[in-house]
């Protein structure tokens, strides 16, 4: 299985775009951040990649980067293309593709809420889900959700008789 010729041609027009087929009907493209909007526009205009399935964000804490993945589907080629870009974690800014794909409005707002990435030109960057939240963006890797949950919410201190018996015999719970 190889990348279909029309797609190969279009990808060849942009500088420094690496592409490979990862699974049946799945192509991975690694693009430079400045090339991505042009790439998506080319794909939409020439090869029928009309449907934006999702925009995902992955936080690579050690490398200090956010990876944004744009998944677009072409009905003509029956192919899903995932375009990966890496942006620096500080300041965490990128350009919006709302004018190209309207579904981006939801995903960019979601990524902004959860990761803190600012999209220039997005439909809206206001809170949608986390309107009662005043902590750091929760999906970042440096936010410890379990610690936060333990500090904010109290739980039942469950110590039944059978556990006491086990502890008396020398066993007990591991922490």
């Amino acid at each position: 299985m190889t990348i279909p010729a029309p797609l190969d041609e279009v990808l060849g027009e942009l500088p420094l775009v690496a592409a490979r087929l990862t699974a049946p009907r799945r192509v991975r493209v690694d693009a430079r951040p400045e090339n991505l909007p042009a790439l998506l526009e080319l794909l939409k205009g020439r090869l029928g990649f009309f449907h934006l399935s999702a925009i995902s964000c992955v936080d690579w804490l050690e490398e200090g980067q956010f990876e944004l993945v744009y998944h677009v589907w072409s009905d003509k080629l029956k192919l899903l293309l995932s375009a990966h870009v890496r942006i620096p974690r500080e300041p965490g800014e990128y350009v919006s593709i709302y004018d190209l794909h309207e579904p981006a409005g939801f995903f960019e707002r979601d990524i902004h809420e959860m990761f803190g990435v600012v999209f220039d030109g997005a439909l809206s960057l206001d809170r949608f889900i986390l309107t009662s939240w005043d902590g750091p963006p929760p999906m970042r890797k440096d936010f410890d959700a379990r610690k936060y949950a333990e500090e904010t919410f109290s739980t039942v201190n469950y110590h039944p008789d059978w556990l006491k018996d086990i502890e008396a015999a020398g066993g007990g719970l591991e922490e």
Partner: protein, 385 residues
């Protein structure tokens, strides 16, 4: 009857007097909202001039807690993302893990997965059937639909042990084989459903009130639906024959014979008719799956290491499924360890409950809000995760 549908054009917001404008909160405590969700509408008379969706009431931080659990433990979490139709969630997660790990479930497991998926599709549509009718005041449908669905939940209980959240489809296959006799019971139930379908149709689609309320309500053209990101039955009701089971097939769907149901019009009535057609097609698929499962023997899981010590290689996968609501996708990233590095859930309702709903509500009447939301089958837990 047609003159009732001559709704005048959307009033220009700048031309409306401020005293004619009224802001109303719809939800979250509202029977006309599907689930725990809220819409803020700005009204001029009973016409909506603007609508803003407000979610987050069901937010549990799924994507964060999935990163802290083992690959196998997440199967217990994942069905809870979409409450009415949990089986595609399990299947898509399992498939994304298999894509990363290079696993292929055995053939018998794939056929069983299709059985579960299509039965869950029937259950979800029967549930929506009732909810949709309730929005126009026809409550009998809810009783019929929910009770019929309950009989299918008995089949699920027999196979998996639970009615709603099965925790049955795991990476590598399914957890256990089908019990004896369940295929006969499922076939008898499908006969019963087919016998009752004319009654359901008569009650819902031959009803003049429903037809008058539903036709023309919340209508969108094919271009609008594609531009707004609508998928699933909402898109097929606009005449676009797009179905992931055909376009991006998975499991054993290429071997199955079924039609893609489309309708013209893109309004609430067309969407309900598409769902009715999908129930018929799901029954058709199940009637092909059941005999195949009777004759096919084999394991139902591929050999896996100890799930408590199972490291997946580094990689990523994007698995897509046609759930009853639309396109469901999981983007799973592994950094080579026992836990996922990132799981991103793309629910179909991420589009339907937010942007599509806001577009369709603009210009609608206040009494149609509930019907538009239910006909889009917007599922708030999928939006909030």
């Amino acid at each position: 009857m047609s003159d009732l549908k001559q709704i005048p054009a959307i009033p220009d917001p700048d031309a409306i007097e401020p005293s004619d404008v009224y802001d109303l909160y719809f939800g979250p405590n509202h029977p006309g909202i599907e689930g725990n969700y809220s819409i803020r509408v700005r009204l001029s008379g009973d016409r909506i001039i603007e609508a803003v969706a407000d979610g987050g009431y069901l937010h549990r931080g799924f994507e964060k807690i999935m990163e802290e659990r083992l690959w196998m433990q997440n199967i217990a979490l994942v069905p809870r993302i979409c409450v009415p139709d949990p089986v595609p969630m399990e299947e898509t997660y399992a498939r994304s893990v298999e894509m990363i790990g290079g696993l292929t479930p055995p053939e018998r497991a794939q056929w069983i997965r299709v059985l579960m998926l299509e039965t869950s599709r029937i259950c979800a549509h029967l549930f929506t059937f009732g909810g949709n009718a309730a929005t126009v005041g026809l409550y009998t449908n809810m009783f019929w639909g929910v009770t019929m669905r309950d009989l299918f939940l008995d089949i699920f209980e027999e196979i998996t042990g639970a009615r709603i959240y099965h925790i049955y489809i795991t990476p590598g296959g399914v957890r256990r084989d089908l019990p004896d006799g369940v295929l006969d019971r499922l076939e008898a139930l499908l006969d019963e459903l087919e016998r009752r379908m004319p009654q359901f149709e008569d009650l819902f689609f031959n009803n003049a009130v429903v037809i008058n309320r539903a036709s023309g309500t919340g209508s969108m053209s094919a271009e609008q639906a594609l531009a707004w990101g609508a998928t699933g039955p909402n898109l097929r009701a606009c005449g676009v024959a797009s179905d992931i089971r055909r376009d991006d097939p998975y499991l054993v769907y290429p071997q199955l014979d079924f039609d893609i149901v489309t309708e013209e019009g893109g309004d609430a009535l067309a969407r309900m008719m598409v769902r009715k057609g999908e129930v018929v097609q799901s029954v058709r698929i199940l009637r092909q799956v059941i005999p195949r499962l009777r004759e096919l023997k084999g394991p139902v899981r591929c050999p896996l290491p100890n799930p408590l010590a199972w490291d997946l290689p580094a990689g990523e996968a994007y698995a897509r499924t046609e759930s009853s609501k639309g396109e469901l996708a999981f983007y799973t990233v592994s950094s080579g360890g026992p836990r996922p590095y990132r799981v991103h859930v793309r629910g179909a309702s991420s589009m339907h409950a937010v942007q599509v709903l806001e577009h369709l509500l603009t210009g609608a009447r206040i009494e149609d809000v509930a019907q538009i939301m239910f006909s889009l089958d917007a599922c708030p837990p999928e939006v909030d995760r």
